[in-house]
Amino acid sequence: MSLERKDDYDHNAWLQEKDLSPVETTFLTALIWMDKRLRIVDYLEILESLYYRVNLQMPKSHTEQYNLDNKFWYWYPLYTLGLFSTLSYIVAAVSGALLGFYYSPATTGDPTTAYTQIEFIMTELQFGFFLRSLHRWSAQVMVAAVFLHMLRVYFTGSYKEPRELNWILGIILISLTMGFGYTGYLLPWDQLAFWAGQIGVEMALSVPLIGEWAAQLVFGGFTLSQATLQRMYILHVFLLPFIVTTLIAIHIGIVWVQGIAEPH
């Protein structure tokens, strides 16, 4: 009996009988050597199947399957509104993060630090005027896009089974989007911000039973103060971003899993 280990898959013998060119031999030897140690073949296989999946062709569409004549469905362009909501959210997030480098939520001083910081951004900071404008506009556009997206979902009947949960998630998202807008509106602490905040406090206070508690929680008191601005700031730059980003991810994940509802 030989002490030499017998290889079930004697790759060397296989290489000999193949009669390969030197380049091929070198390549295969290297590949086998690496593969014995790193199991590359597995990864190559994954890459290969990924390659095929990326090039997968789409299944026959509903319109074609039911022979709806490949008619141009006149609402298809509106199906991009969800993408627009996401894009404007991203633009708002990036420009907001940049604004956050210069803003500070303090009501000290006269006019307040918050106000003077906005003034600083608008008048002295390089590109600050544009940056604030960009943040404003992307927020406005996002609300508009989300609302129109909701209308397209409504009028194409896309909220029906099995998409009810995504519809409700959408309601939560549009409310949070408006919450984003409201908390952001208060941050410059100018006259409009202050009195919009006043109305918010009054609305919170007028809720039966939990009104005072809600006003305390959200606005930090029954009159506007440093606490109010600070809470609006944390809601706007910390809590809401986390929650909304997660919910958008879930929302789009559900669309991914369920597929876009095709019109009939």
Binding site: V54, P59, L83, V143, Q191, Q198, E202, M203
Partner: protein, 254 residues
């Protein structure tokens, strides 16, 4: 060793007698057999739903084709990228041409003549101005059941709650507005109401009699809804004939 190991098979345990647990994943039925109560039911359901999926798959007369629509790359991807850059470019354009301004600093001791949130909250602001329709109950001696402001906040809850309920009120497989004129009418009425209630919110900027404005706020949505209903009902007959012929024959409505 006490157990009667077959000596002809290779020893893979290094003579320790310790054998690694086999790594075969138990099937659903094996897992089910070990379980009781709720988890057993869960497994049973999983099994059923898998069987159902399989049955549906075998039943399906889904036709595969040779060329199946556009490939993701490059067609879809390039299209999406161009739409995305156009859209982001549009935001940049707006920001560059119409920058926002900032008002005077906050001053708690002087209430400005016009207090407004951003435009997309006008509807909510408008709902706070519904005091004329807050019912005065004769049982309470003509008193209102709720303060006007509470009523307004409640109106917000009702509106949002109704929208959230829509999928549970309107079911079925119809998708196009012509198929369901009523729900299309509700939608159009809702959109018009969102607009009119927003105008009501900025009533002091609208050069119009306030009572007329208030009435229009509720009348316009109703009129718009009725018109929508009438138009769609009229369109429906010719339209549905085509749809039925092509579609419902293949996929009967539930």
């Amino acid at each position: 060793m006490t157990d009667n190991n077959d000596n002809t098979t290779a020893e893979t345990d290094g003579g320790t007698g310790i054998v690694a647990p086999d790594d075969e994943t138990p099937t659903w039925s094996e897992r089910k057999a070990r379980k009781t109560g709720l988890s057993r039911l869960t497994y049973e359901y999983f099994e059923r739903s898998r069987r159902e999926d399989q049955d549906l798959r075998t039943e399906s007369d889904y036709v595969e084709r040779d060329v199946l629509g556009f490939p993701t790359w490059p067609h879809e991807t390039v299209r999406n990228l161009s739409i995305a850059s156009f859209f982001v470019g549009m935001i940049f354009f707006l920001s560059a041409t119409l920058p926002p301004h900032i008002g005077p600093p906050a001053n708690p001791s002087s209430t400005p003549a016009i207090i407004l949130p951003d435009w997309y909250l006008y509807w909510s602001f408008g709902l706070l101005k519904l005091s004329p329709v807050n019912p005065e109950l004769s049982i309470l001696g003509g008193q209102k059941l709720m303060a006007d402001r509470t009523y307004g906040v409640l109106a917000n809850v009702v509106v949002v709650g109704f929208i959230a309920m829509v999928p549970f009120l309107n079911k079925g497989s119809a998708r196009r507005p012509v198929e369901q004129p009523f729900w299309a009418a509700v939608g159009v009425g809702g959109v018009v109401f969102a607009f009119t209630i927003s105008v009501l919110a900025v009533q002091n900027l609208v050069p119009m009699n306030i009572d007329l404005l208030f009435d229009l706020t509720f009348l316009l949505p109703i009129v718009a809804g009725i018109v929508t209903y009438a138009v769609l009902k009229t369109m429906r007959e010719g339209y549905m004939y085509d749809l039925n012929r092509r579609y419902y024959r293949l996929r009967p409505p539930r």
